[in-house]
Symmetry: C2
Subunit: 419 residues, 2 copies
């Protein structure tokens, strides 16, 4: 068997566990010296591949890889960039394959979401059309959990654990502060089209009746001011306070984003996140005191609150991706297959990136309560195991002891990219 | 010695460790049966005392107290309410002392910030003027760290650990996502007048050069648009991204709040937090991509990321408060006295609430860097030990296993309060 080099790259929004996948890929690739030579990474995803901006991971010893696996963010840098269709921009693929050839890349592992699976499918198609020898593999990752073909996506479980814990804790705070005037707390979570993270905050309630979050606004459900406000009033009158989770991408029935819908009395658009707009609506219409939180990057970078299930799955897809690469399973993606809810059992299975690229898995109707303002028991059964377990991690001086990867760039073998 | 009953109450914004203080008070009071009879708590602070809305903590067993000590929020409910001066509203004190007398309260322990110390001082003065037998003790708590007389305040260390960890993690995320166009992340933290929490995010940088946060905007320093923007540009041109911490209460030299200063091009005020206004300023003036996070309640309720130092101090002030009460040290507050920075040593000492009530301890000039955009090494030496150590805590189904205190109200002995 000919040894070829492996190139790994990270794409899209990074997560608390994408580096765990990276570490597993490097560790597994080192166990395949019969097939894999050098193990490279591209800086900033496919952009680094195009720019021949590569690093050699050989300098990372076992301790460095163990630390990397517990560090959030994307150690090699990420990007938001889609390749053009091969027939529209063949020069882009010429360049990419020139870089692959110059560094004898036989395996390309791309770690990302829907767009990255499309990149893997396009590279596979272009390579086959040209007879270029490359095995491109998709490695799943997205806090949005909207990847088709996998029961869940690495990164989601940890972000879900973070937002559910945050709602639980903020709810305790709010319950203590609720005064006679009613108090409303709104937390805006990520999810432009898919409400998985918003749904996950339902775990905060556990088995307690009337516990936060009292209302969950999903992008899958058209937002209606009056239905929402009536529910807020009902909750506040009963409990003295109300907690609301809102997906950043919540829309009204006419398709307009709630976050674009704030207007002052002269008709000027007031920009702001969905959380702020919802809080302002409650304040304006019902007169309750209001607070809003926007965890933003905090929810996908919380390495201090990683789900052990998510961490194990992030490693497992990395390991499987290398095995698929060595086996020559072109355009495959290791997916997480659920075998049982309780006790939770899962395994890895292969899906074809060409069948799922650019699809978007939304929260299904049977996970959404009939009134559209919360989730069902079926959703909770799905979500519960994904946040399970804690990862013991080192601290230094009171803060998580994260590592930095400082690798020198590979010497370039090609002229600079013509853009 | 005559046994009298003890009444405990929580006031102001709650914290991740105020219930640890509550648990320590109850545990310590039980060890003084020679002086203390029943141990009651008021619901929602002094409002509950006025309304005769009291609970008996006798039903809390050792396990319940241990769980309480690890639960954020205020288990007995809090309030934002100041007593009137005794000479202006004697009826308010008549009512309060009637409630105290009806339940044989000999000790009143009020757990809060500056305003609560004022309440303790006022009750002590009114009681002395009337010859009413009560020992009122102040118990410190505030995430704002702005209480005079104590080196730090319980609640601050845990909130500081949370915001520093959050900046560390968001910084890793941002570094991975920084593209060619420059990327700026702004995190708004609590602190209307005192910038202690904003300053604490400096711990995220540790000993790394050019690490987040790159800029810290404190309410103690007049905000100047041009100075700030020039620094942002300099950082982005050097690193490709820039992270900013902003206190919610940052003001311009004319005293106006930055968060009130957003105007659209027609002169209409655009409401929003300081974080959003700063992010929008960067975007409008420099054209960089921007994100902002507002942890809001999350930063003071993060029971999952408590500082062990803070937790120990929260318990210590509770224990000392009971001992001061039994010793009859009227109007005293147990304060934290720092004996050494490194290794950190501290002890509890008594201060008189009448000397510190309503004062506000701001970040001192020697903790602020000369350009006003960051903190000094002296600030780091002060802050570092306060976030030290982790508290091991139970999880259930993947989330922190917090407890709820469900105590029946005491039977009322007085007519309802006339308001």
């Amino acid at each position: 068997m000919t040894r070829r080099n492996l190139l790994y790259a990270q794409s899209g929004g990074v997560t608390a566990v994408i580096n765990a996948t990276a570490a597993a890929i490097i560790e597994t690739a080192r166990r395949h010296p019969e097939a894999i030579g050098a193990i490279y990474a591209a800086r900033n995803g496919i952009l680094g591949a195009l720019a021949e901006n590569l690093v050699d991971t050989a300098a990372l010893d076992d301790a460095a890889l163990a630390a990397l696996a517990l560090t959030p963010g994307g150690a090699f840098g990420s990007c938001r960039f889609d390749l053009d269709p091969p027939d529209q921009n063949p020069a882009q693929y010429d360049r990419l394959f020139d870089v692959f050839a110059a560094h004898d890349i036989g395996y390309f592992l791309y770690n990302g979401g829907n767009g990255s699976m499309d990149t893997v499918a396009k590279i596979t198609a272009a390579a086959q059309a040209r007879g270029f020898p490359i095995t491109a593999i998709g490695v799943p990752k997205t806090v949005d959990n909207d990847l088709e073909g996998s029961d869940c996506s690495p990164g989601f479980g940890s972000a879900a654990k973070y937002v559910a814990t945050s709602m639980l804790e903020a709810g305790l705070d709010l319950a203590a502060m609720s005064g006679s005037k009613g108090r409303v707390f709104v937390m805006e979570v990520m999810g432009r089209n898919a409400g998985w993270l918003a749904a996950a905050t339902a775990l905060a309630a556990r088995d307690r009746v009337d516990a936060p979050p009292h209302i969950i606004l999903l992008p899958e459900v058209a937002f209606d001011d009056e239905t929402f406000l009536a529910k807020v009033r009902e909750v506040v009158e009963r409990l003295g306070y109300c907690t609301v989770t809102v997906s950043e991408g919540v829309r009204r029935a006419d398709g307009s984003l709630v976050m674009e819908q704030g207007h002052d009395n002269k008709g000027h658009v007031q920009l702001g996140g969905a959380g702020q707009c919802i809080a302002r609506l409650v304040s304006t219409r019902l007169g309750y005191k209001h607070h809003w939180a926007i965890p933003d990057y905090l929810q996908r970078a919380a390495g201090h609150l990683v789900s052990a299930t998510d961490h194990a799955q992030a490693r497992a897809v990395g390991t499987a991706a290398v095995e698929y690469a060595v086996a020559g399973r072109k355009a495959a993606m290791p997916a997480i297959i659920r075998e049982a809810d309780e006790p939770y059992r899962w395994r890895i299975g292969a899906v074809d990136t060409r069948a799922i690229a650019n699809l978007e898995r939304l929260v299904p109707a049977h996970f959404i309560r009939e009134d559209g303002l919360h989730v069902t028991d079926a959703a909770l059964r799905y979500l519960r195991p994904l946040v399970e377990g804690e990862v013991v991690r080192p601290y230094r001086d009171g803060l998580p002891d994260y590592s930095a990867v400082n690798l020198r760039s590979l010497r370039r073998r090609l002229p600079a990219q013509v853009s």
